[in-house]
Symmetry: C2
């Protein structure tokens, strides 16, 4: 298929082309470049709303994601879900648990669900996610939900990619101090205490509110909502929060700032990724240099100098 045909199929909603296109951009190959160049004008025309959903394992991210998919489908919006799971050695890929919860949407052509592996090369996710979003934009999706496991570097990357980041907590999953320790307070635009039918939900919500009260929030102050994902309780509040945040982003000019920052990060991540890939091609050089560092004959910086010199033609 030519790139022109591929873009046409993508725009017409062909799912196989969509899946293949995403796989292509993930390779960061010459073909990926061609495709991204071809869709660049489409992407500038139609930016989906990107919503990040993050939190520790077990807080119910998949349930909330499924509830949001249903809500946006009711509004007639086309919704994509990117599930960022570190792959497991047992399955050779992401486990199917989340997908099973998504089963209700499996036959809906207005919904596209994709697992993405976060493991592997440096800045991999940071480099690839914006391009996957670009493909989804070209394919006409209105909302992209990005679900990430865990707290840490990957969450910081989601916060950088999403327009709005929802941090999910659950009662008893750790108090306010734990949340702050995990660095999640600073990335949340909205906090949701899920499984709010369990003991301690009010306490957890209050603790998060207290932590938020300690911060300074120029412009947007994150709301804390209570949800019970598997009963659809509180989903309206969550949607209202997302809507309010979106309105604020747009009115304050922050949206433009975030998108510019996102593209900057994408360029830097691609640059880093390309440099590392080029270095990895020089397997023998890299091993020899590592061996010399290990035996104390060279420091790591000097090794980088030598490697750089060989990379530059």
């Amino acid at each position: 298929m030519t790139t022109v045909d591929q873009v046409a199929a993508l725009r017409s909603g062909d799912v196989r082309t969509l899946a293949r296109s995403i796989s292509i951009v993930e390779t960061q190959s010459a073909q990926a470049r061609k495709l991204l160049a071809a869709i660049a004008p489409l992407v500038a025309d139609h930016s989906p709303q990107v919503i990040g959903i993050t939190g520790s394992p077990g807080v119910g991210k998949s349930t909330i994601t499924a509830a949001l998919v249903s809500a946006y489908r009711k509004e007639g919006k086309r919704v994509a879900v990117l599930a960022v799971d570190p792959s497991s050695p047992f399955s050779g890929g992401a486990l199917l648990g989340d997908r099973i919860r998504m089963q209700q949407h499996a036959n809906d052509p207005g919904v596209y669900i994709r697992s993405m592996a976060s493991r592997g090369h440096l800045g991999g996710l940071a480099a690839t996610t914006p391009q996957v979003i670009a493909v989804l934009a070209a394919a006409g999706f209105d909302v992209v939900l990005i679900e990430t496991v865990g707290v840490g570097q990957s969450e910081v990357e989601v916060a950088a990619t999403a327009d709005t980041t929802i941090v999910l907590l659950a009662p008893g999953m750790g108090d306010g101090i734990q949340a702050a320790k995990a660095g999640i307070l600073e990335i949340g635009d909205i906090f949701a205490v899920n499984k709010a039918d369990r003991d301690g939900a009010q306490t957890t919500a209050r603790e998060v509110q207290q932590m938020i009260a300690l911060g300074t929030w120029p412009g947007w102050r994150p709301p804390v909502v209570l949800t019970v994902g598997n009963r659809d309780d509180g989903i309206d509040d969550l949607l209202a929060g997302i809507q309010a945040h979106r309105a604020w982003l747009s009115q304050s000019g922050e949206e433009q700032q975030r998108r510019l920052r996102r593209v900057r990060e994408e360029i830097l991540a691609l640059l880093a990724s390309r440099t590392v890939q080029a270095a990895q091609q020089r397997e023998a050089d890299l091993n020899a240099l590592a061996q010399r560092v290990l035996s104390g004959g060279l420091d790591a910086y000097a090794a980088v100098d030598e490697l750089s010199a060989r990379l530059t033609p």
Copy 2:
């Protein structure tokens, strides 16, 4: 202070020099290079045992870390703790909770505790941690415990840095499926179900054992131990596990492989970090390129090409 004086002070155990030296390597500056070059021969001579301790917020990482510090101190070993916490906007840095738990070791000159921020630049932690370990090696530390919050990319980085990685779980913090989903099963050399005095500890341990049984383990099969960190229960089992893993690493030749891989990753991370830093210096170029990508006039790869061309002299 000259670099020679600094190295001498580092070897003599001067804590202020140690703290300053770590801060220097974190900057990745010319001064960092000089220091690392000076200590490279010392590092090759004396490699500390590096132990990673990871798990979700609330599983009790700090308590287990404190218990391991006590145990290694009893053996007369000098122990460093690197606590990798994303910094919080509320404190302007890592919270002090962990340090308070470490208070018992605060006045022990054989223990050094340091918080490290994981947020920020691409591959930041991956680039810096091996060098901080190098400084600790030069300062004569025997054991380095690296405690990381959360599950995700940062854990994969710890697994790459540590000789032995302990994955902590707690009853009710998520079942085996959750653990597998979070990708932590593949990075653990030892699993510890902490807070084992709580309901469900045996169940959690059994689930993890079942997940392990599904995998293929050439050489080392991760043991699962039960611990109660704040009562020192099970710490002997944990130590025995670490010891056994260490013996296996050494006998199997895996230790050498891991260390070589670690240095390779360090070189690649430094290379990526240096490239990104150089690009960030060209603030105006980067913003102009990002603006063009945002308006659809350029794709991200073409932006990287233009940026690369300006970076290469």
